[in-house]
């Protein structure tokens, strides 16, 4: 069997559709994962126990169940009593939610790495809790965890094809459908290359960010 460039040509329109889905899922999923993870991590330091333990329970639960199950749940079960969302939106929320439980752990490690003397100094100056977080603790905590957060962006990219199971056709989803219809394999190769093309600059970007943040003390 030879590699047929005409097949590639034919796949291209659907490939770009898939790329768009993949990039949206990655960008928005990352946004959710980074923001929500921070909320989880901060909530786990809340003074009130009734805030801490439900958050711990929920994040543990989400982290320890498969993403696939969560995607099905969000797509088929949640709409029965809650909002129903498009496949892509569901996929984005699912990826973001799932990965937020990982980023929460990363943030938590970063927060715990800030010496207790920093909390005490903030308290001695009567800084409010919000101020203490935003100007003292988080700038120090996040700086040290940017590389670890970045790794989860790449991991999320690799998990993003799962959203095809609920009908959000990412680039791999498009390729599989195309290949099944045309009895060809070229599309799969194209997508394999595309993953590298996206992942590599992403990891370079993370490294640049890391250097700027870490050396900026």
């Amino acid at each position: 069997m030879t590699f047929d460039w005409e097949v590639v040509d034919e796949f291209m329109p659907r490939f770009w559709d898939g790329v768009l889905v993949t990039l949206q899922a990655l960008a928005l999923g990352t946004l959710i994962a980074f923001a929500l993870g921070l909320v989880w991590a901060m909530a786990q330091r809340a003074p009130q126990r009734w805030v801490r333990w439900p958050v711990t329970a929920v994040t543990e639960f989400i982290r320890n169940t498969p993403l696939l199950v969560q995607l099905f749940f969000l797509f088929y079960v949640v709409p029965q009593w809650g909002p129903s969302m498009s496949p892509l939106t569901t996929g984005i929320v699912g990826l973001g939610l799932h990965y937020s439980t990982y980023t929460a752990e990363v943030y938590r490690a970063g927060i715990e790495g800030v010496p207790v003397g920093q909390w005490e100094a903030a308290k001695a100056l009567s800084l409010s809790r919000g101020r203490t977080w935003s100007s003292v603790i988080l700038p120090q905590a996040i700086r040290r965890v940017v590389p670890a957060l970045g790794n989860y962006v790449v991991a999320m990219l690799k998990d993003s094809p799962m959203i095809a199971v609920i009908g959000a056709l990412d680039m791999l989803g498009e390729a599989r459908q195309f290949s099944n219809e045309t009895f060809t394999t070229e599309a799969i190769t194209v997508v394999g290359v595309a993953f590298i093309v996206i992942a590599y600059p992403a990891s370079l970007l993370i490294r640049v960010l890391e250097r700027r943040l870490v050396n900026n003390t």
């Binding site: 010496p115 100056l125 009567s126 003390t217």
Partner: protein, 269 residues
């Protein structure tokens, strides 16, 4: 330490009125009774030094005032207000966060390990709390920070990060940061014991200067006995969570009544 005239007004106390008062304060960590039914008071403008062997509870007193730990029983008053309690319908009840914050604003603290914010330059270390806690305008806070940096002799380091400074310089910034809140009381917990020996004198001189030229009240834990002798109006000798002896430095250092005090002084001098 004194019997004091009443200070029930809301105004800042005139010199000599009672600023800090511990009444029957007990603090335990597990079975360890760290402060045992402690009573003492400090008058406004006085410099009081806490001495005593390691583990006798000196730091715990400062941490109580900073509300970093809570007492198991007893009451603490700062400038006439209960620190951990609020009076409601004539009854003492545990205070809310806002009340505690308001009372604590009267108190500044300098730590052994400096605890400057490493993510902020010197200037912002000093202005952060005045701007965001006292609501001071940024210009005003920065002008005040410059004055304070002049006082502590670090004007040229205003745009540096703490890690670019020596330990002694960092501690002086920490002192400036505490003073920027214009506290009535300054708590100092072994502020020179993390410093290289050659840097100690500079910081102690600065504190002597502050003690002499301002009317700030100081509560100071130190092992620097010469410094304690110079600045103190009163010395409290602690042992096992109790004040076993107190008085002016001439008396405590030269002719202590308690044998424990004598032993302690012999051991460290």
């Amino acid at each position: 330490m004194s019997t004091t005239p009443d200070s029930t007004t809301e105004n800042p106390p005139v010199d000599g009125s009672e600023l800090i008062r511990f009444d029957n304060v007990t603090k335990r960590f597990g079975d360890n009774v760290v402060l045992d039914d402690l009573c003492f008071d400090v008058s406004s403008g006085k410099h009081v030094t806490l001495i005593g062997p390691s583990g006798s509870g000196k730091t715990t007193i400062l941490r109580l005032l900073m509300t970093l730990v809570e007492p198991d029983s007893g009451t603490i008053k700062v400038n006439g207000d209960y620190l951990f309690h609020e009076e409601r319908n004539g009854k003492l009840e545990p205070a809310g966060e806002n009340h505690i914050r308001e009372v604590r604003k009267n108190i500044g603290m300098v730590f052994q390990q400096f605890n400057l914010f490493p993510n902020m330059k010197v200037m912002r270390n000093i202005t952060e709390a005045p701007v965001h806690v006292l609501g001071m305008a940024k210009d005003e806070a920065e002008a005040r920070a410059r004055e304070l940096l002049e006082l502590v002799g670090l004007t040229e380091h205003i745009d540096k990060y703490p890690t670019q400074l020596s330990g002694g310089q960092q501690q002086r910034v920490a002192i400036a940061r505490a003073l920027a809140m214009r506290p009535q009381v300054l708590l100092l917990d072994e502020v020179t014991s993390a410093l290289d020996p050659e840097l100690v004198a500079g910081v102690l001189d600065l504190l002597r200067d502050i003690a002499q030229t301002t009317d700030i009240t100081m509560l100071c834990v130190t092992h620097e006995m010469n410094f304690a002798r110079d600045i103190s109006d009163d010395v409290l000798m602690f042992d096992a969570g109790k004040i076993i002896e107190s008085g002016p430095p001439e008396k405590i250092f030269s002719e202590p009544e308690e044998e424990r005090t004598q032993q302690f002084l012999n051991a460290i001098l």
